[in-house]
C-alpha cells in the first residue's frame, strides 16, 4: 500500500530523515516509534506530501506520489493530529463533513455518514452534532478528530501522536475503543508515537527510529526478543516485563497451565487475551480467592496467580 524507498530529508544542514526504506502492506498497522526529533513525524508528512523528500520516492498504491497533485492525494488519505487541530469555528458535524464537503458529496450522504460515525464513536448524534469543539472534553474532541479523518472512508490513515495530548486514563480508554472499531480493522494505518506502550498495543509492526534512521523494523516480538542493538534493548528496558506480558497470549500458555483443584470466585477471560490482562484482572479482583476460568473447546481450567507464573516460566524456557 505504501512504499518508502531510500528517502532522505534535509532541512538546511540538518538531516531529519536519513535514507530510510520500508513497506506497509494493505490492512497493516505500522507504528513509527522514537524520541522527539528522530524524524518520525517528518517521515509521516512525506507520505501525504506535507513535506517533499529531498531524495528518494514514496509510493502510495504503487504510484509515485511526486507525480500526483497534492490536494487530490490528501483527500484520499485520512490524517489525524492531536485533538487541538479541530476547526474551532465549525460544529462537530461540520468538522466531520470537511472532506466529504470538499469532495462534493450530497447533503444526505454527508448527514448519514456523520450520524453513522458519531454513533460508532460513542457520541450521541442528537446531543453533539451541533456542538462546537470548545464545548467538548478532550476525549470527545479526539473522537471527533478521528471521525473527521474517517469520514470519506480513506483506505489509508496517517496519525500523528493522535492520543498524545490526552491524559493517561482517557488515552487508554480511547485507544481501546479505537482498536475495537470496525472502521479501523480493514485500514492501512501509519501512526507516529513516542509512547512504547501505545506502539505495542496498536502496531502490527513497529519501526523504531533514531536520529533520522530506522534502527529496527519488525513485529513487537522481534523487538523484544531479537533486538537489533543496544539502543533497541535500552529503549524497551523500562517497560520490558510489562511489554513481554502483553505480547504473550493466554492461548500460548494453555498447554502449560494446570487447573487448580480449588473452587473460588471465577473471572471470565478469553484465550486471545494477553497474560498482562490476566494479571491485571487477578490483581484488581476484590475477592480473596479470585481465579480465572480459562476455556478451550469445552475444557475449563481454573487459574490462580501462582499457576500463571508457573506456566510462564515453563513457556519461557521452551
Amino acid at each position: 500500500m505504501v512504499d518508502v524507498e531510500h528517502v532522505t530529508q534535509r532541512f538546511g544542514n540538518t538531516v531529519a530523515v536519513d535514507d530510510i526504506s520500508f513497506t506497509v502492506a494493505e490492512g497493516e498497522n505500522l507504528v513509527l516509534l522514537g524520541t522527539s526529533g528522530c524524524g518520525k513525524t517528518t517521515t509521516l508528512k512525506m507520505i501525504n506530501k506535507l513535506i517533499t523528500p529531498t531524495v528518494g520516492c514514496v509510493k502510495v498504491n504503487g504510484k509515485d506520489i511526486a507525480g500526483q497533485p497534492a490536494i487530490q492525494l490528501r483527500r484520499g488519505i485520512g490524517y489525524v493530529l492531536q485533538h487541538n487541530s479541530l476547526f474551532l469555528h465549525y460544529t462537530v458535524a461540520e468538522n466531520i463533513a470537511t472532506i466529504p464537503g470538499l469532495l462534493k458529496w450530497s447533503k444526505d450522504d454527508i448527514d448519514n455518514r456523520v450520524t453513522e460515525l458519531l454513533v460508532k464513536l460513542h457520541l450521541d448524534p442528537e446531543k453533539y452534532r451541533n456542538s462546537y469543539p470548545a464545548q467538548l472534553s478532550g476525549g470527545q474532541q479526539q473522537r471527533v478528530n478521528i471521525a473527521r479523518a474517517l469520514a470519506a472512508q480513506p483506505p489509508l490513515l496517517l496519525m500523528d501522536e493522535p492520543f498524545g495530548a490526552l491524559d493517561t486514563v482517557t488515552r487508554t480508554a480511547i485507544r481501546k475503543e479505537f482498536k475495537e472499531l470496525d472502521e479501523f480493522k480493514k485500514k492501512t494505518i501509519i501512526m507516529v508515537t513516542h509512547d512504547v506502550q501505545e506502539a505495542f498495543e496498536l502496531g502490527d509492526r513497529i519501526c523504531l527510529m533514531d536520529k533520522g534512521k530506522i534502527v529496527q523494523i519488525g513485529t513487537v516480538r522481534d523487538l523484544l526478543n531479537k533486538p537489533a542493538n543496544d539502543f533497541v534493548r535500552s529503549f524497551l528496558d523500562d517497560q520490558r516485563l510489562q511489554l513481554t506480558f502483553q505480547t504473550i497470549k493466554l492461548a500460548e500458555l494453555w498447554p502449560f497451565v494446570e487447573s487448580s483443584g480449588q473452587e473460588g470466585a471465577m473471572l471470565k477471560i478469553r484465550l486471545e487475551d494477553t497474560l498482562w490482562m490476566a494479571m491485571q484482572l487477578l490483581d484488581g479482583a476484590e475477592e480473596k480467592n479470585a481465579m480465572l476460568a480459562l476455556t478451550d473447546q469445552g475444557v475449563v481450567k481454573n487459574v490462580t496467580w501462582g499457576i500463571l507464573m508457573q506456566a510462564y516460566n515453563i513457556y519461557k524456557q521452551k
Binding site: 508528512k45 506535507l50 490536494i71 490528501r74 483527500r75 487541538n84 476547526f87 474551532l88 496517517l158
Partner: protein
C-alpha cells in the same frame, strides 16, 4: 450678563445643527472606516501570506499613526484642499494600522495544528484562507475594527478644522467662544458615539461562530448605511462658498450678525484659521472670515469687504495684566505701555506678513521692530521677580509676546517666561484668571462679546465707538476679574470678510451688501 443657558436648552435650540453635525460625524467615521477595511483587510491577509512584506507594511502604517492628527490634516490641504475628501483620507490613514495589524495577527495566530490539519485534509490555499484562517481570525480582526472606529470618532472632531463638518464645529466653536454649553453639546455626543459604537462592536466581537454567518452580511451593510449619513445634511448650493472659523460661526458679531443684519444666505463650511487663507487663495472657498491685520491677507492677494452696516465691533489690541502683578512690580506698567500707539493696522499686517509668508521668526521681527523704533535695549541682569506672558495661538500674538518680553528684559530686572500658543480666548483667559500667566494681549471686541458676554442692547449703545468700547471693557475687567487693560497698542484687528482680489474685481463686490446682492441675483 445674560442668564446662564443650560446645555439642554442649547442643544434643543440648536437641535438642527446638532443633528446635522452628529450625522456628518457618523458619516465621516464610517466612510473612512469602510475604505480602511476595504484596503486594510486584504493588505493584512497579503502580509500574513507573504511574511517578508509584513515589517515594511506594518512599519509604514505605524509611522502614519504617529503623525499628530492635526498635522496629518494639515498635510492633506495642499494635496486635496479642504472639505470631506482630505478629512476622509486622513481618517482612513489613521484607521489602517489597527485593521492591518489585527488582520495580520489574527491570521498568524491561528493554531498551526489547525492549519496543518486543513492542508493535510486536502484544502487548497484559498480554501484554507477563506474556510479556516479568516473565520478563526475574525474576533481579532473585529477588535481591530473596534479600535479603528473609536480612534476615528475621536479624530473626526478635528475634521471641523478643514471644513468637513462634524461635532468638532461645536467643540472648537465652544472653545473659541468661551461657550461651555456649545463645547459640551459637541463633546458629549462625540463621547457618546465612541462609547456606543465601542459597546455595539464588543457585542458583535463576542458573538459565537454560528451567528457570525449572519453578521457577515449585516455588518458591512450597517457600515455602508452609516457611511451614507454624510450625504444627508447637504444644503442647497449657492454660487459662492464661504469658509468661516468655528468661532466666527457662533458669534453675533460674526456669522449670526451677517444673517441678521445683512440677511446673507450662503453655503458655509467651517474651517480652521490656519488653513482658511490658503484655501481662499487656492479657490477652494471664496469668502472667508479673516482678521484685518493678518499677514496672509497680503500674501494671498485678498481684499477685505467694507462692513457697511457696522456689525464688526472694534478689536483694538492692548495688554491685559493681573492687578496684583502691577502692584508687585510698579515699574512694569510704564514699560508695557511703551508699545502704545506704535503699531498701526498696516504695520501689524506687514509684521504678520513677514512671519507668515517670509517665514521670519517672531523673535527677529520683534527685535527689528523695537530697534527701528528706538525701543530696543540689551537685556539687564536678572534680579528678583518673574513675569509670565501668555499669547493665543496665532502669529500676531506670538510677535507681541516677544516684544513685551524684550521690553521687560531691557528695561527691568524681571525675568520673563513666554507661554505661547495657549489656544483660543477661553484658554488664555482661564490661564490668567487661574494665575497661570500674568498678562496676555487681548482685543477690545473679544473682551466685550466673548469674555464679558455683554448684552446685545448694550453693545448697540456702544455703537462700535472704539474709545467707549475700550472704557467699557476696561471697567468690566477691573470690576469682575481684577484685571487691568493697559493702553491700546494702536491697530484694530477686527473681523472682516475677505475675498480674492481678482474675484472681487470681476464680481464688483466691494462691500458686504454687494456680496448679498450678488448672491441673490
Amino acid at each position: 450678563m445674560p442668564e446662564a443657558q443650560s446645555i439642554w436648552s442649547f442643544a434643543v435650540q440648536q437641535s438642527d445643527k446638532l443633528l446635522e453635525q452628529t450625522l456628518t460625524h457618523i458619516g465621516l467615521t464610517f466612510i473612512s472606516l469602510f475604505f480602511s477595511i476595504l484596503i486594510g483587510l486584504p493588505l493584512g491577509i497579503f502580509i500574513a501570506r507573504k511574511n517578508s512584506f509584513s515589517s515594511f507594511v506594518l512599519g509604514f502604517a505605524n509611522v502614519l499613526q504617529t503623525i499628530p492628527s492635526i498635522a496629518l490634516l494639515g498635510f492633506m490641504i495642499p494635496l486635496l484642499g479642504i472639505g470631506a475628501v482630505p478629512a476622509i483620507v486622513a481618517l482612513f490613514l489613521y484607521a489602517l494600522l489597527p485593521i492591518i495589524r489585527n488582520t495580520y495577527t489574527g491570521i498568524m495566530e491561528v493554531d498551526s495544528a489547525i492549519k496543518e490539519a486543513a492542508i493535510g485534509m486536502g484544502m487548497s490555499y484559498s480554501q484554507l484562507l477563506f474556510k479556516i484562517e479568516i473565520p478563526l481570525a475574525i474576533p481579532v480582526i473585529l477588535a481591530g475594527i473596534r479600535t479603528a472606529t473609536v480612534i476615528n470618532v475621536g479624530v473626526a472632531t478635528l475634521a471641523a478644522y478643514i471644513g468637513a463638518g462634524g461635532l468638532g464645529e461645536f467643540i472648537f466653536g465652544g472653545i473659541a467662544l468661551n461657550n461651555t454649553n456649545m463645547l459640551l453639546a459637541g463633546a458629549i455626543p462625540a463621547a457618546l458615539l465612541a462609547i456606543v459604537f465601542d459597546f455595539i462592536l464588543s457585542k458583535v466581537q463576542h458573538l459565537n461562530f454560528r451567528k457570525w454567518k449572519l453578521s457577515m452580511v449585516v455588518f458591512p451593510a450597517i457600515i455602508l448605511i452609516l457611511s451614507s449619513f454624510y450625504l444627508i445634511p447637504q444644503e442647497t448650493a449657492s454660487k459662492l462658498l464661504a469658509g468661516f472659523t468655528p468661532e466666527f460661526m457662533g458669534r453675533t458679531d460674526g456669522y449670526l450678525g451677517l444673517k441678521n443684519k445683512y440677511h446673507l444666505k450662503m453655503r458655509t463650511v467651517v474651517v480652521s484659521d490656519a488653513v482658511m487663507y490658503k484655501a481662499a487663495y487656492e479657490k477652494k472657498i471664496d469668502v472667508i472670515s479673516g482678521y484685518s491685520t493678518d499677514g496672509r491677507l497680503k500674501a494671498y492677494g485678498l481684499v477685505t469687504l467694507v462692513d457697511d452696516k457696522g456689525i464688526f465691533p472694534p478689536y483694538y489690541a492692548a495688554p491685559v495684566v493681573r492687578m496684583d502683578v502691577l502692584a508687585q512690580y510698579p515699574e512694569l506698567e510704564s514699560v508695557l505701555n511703551m508699545l502704545a500707539g506704535t503699531i498701526t493696522d498696516s504695520v501689524m499686517t506687514e509684521l504678520n506678513y513677514r512671519a507668515d509668508y517670509l517665514k521670519e521668526s517672531p523673535e527677529k521681527i520683534a527685535k527689528d521692530f523695537l530697534i527701528a523704533n528706538n525701543l530696543w535695549r540689551e537685556p539687564q541682569t536678572i534680579g528678583q521677580g518673574r513675569v509670565r506672558i501668555g499669547s493665543k495661538i496665532f502669529t500676531e500674538q506670538y510677535i507681541l509676546g516677544q516684544m513685551y518680553a524684550m521690553l521687560i528684559r531691557g528695561y527691568t530686572h524681571l525675568d520673563v517666561v513666554n507661554k505661547n500658543g495657549l489656544g483660543g480666548t477661553k484658554i488664555c483667559f482661564e490661564a490668567i484668571q487661574n494665575n497661570q500667566i500674568d498678562m496676555y494681549p487681548e482685543y477690545t471686541g473679544t473682551g466685550l462679546l466673548v469674555i464679558l458676554q455683554t448684552r446685545e442692547d448694550t453693545v448697540e449703545k456702544l455703537s462700535g465707538n472704539k474709545d467707549r468700547v475700550y472704557d467699557f471693557v476696561a471697567n468690566g475687567f477691573k470690576e469682575k476679574y481684577n484685571l487691568k487693560w493697559l493702553k491700546p497698542i494702536g491697530f484694530n484687528n477686527a473681523y472682516a470678510l475677505m475675498m480674492r482680489r481678482q474675484q472681487s474685481d470681476i464680481l464688483h463686490v466691494r462691500t458686504i451688501t454687494d456680496l448679498r446682492n450678488k448672491l441673490e441675483e
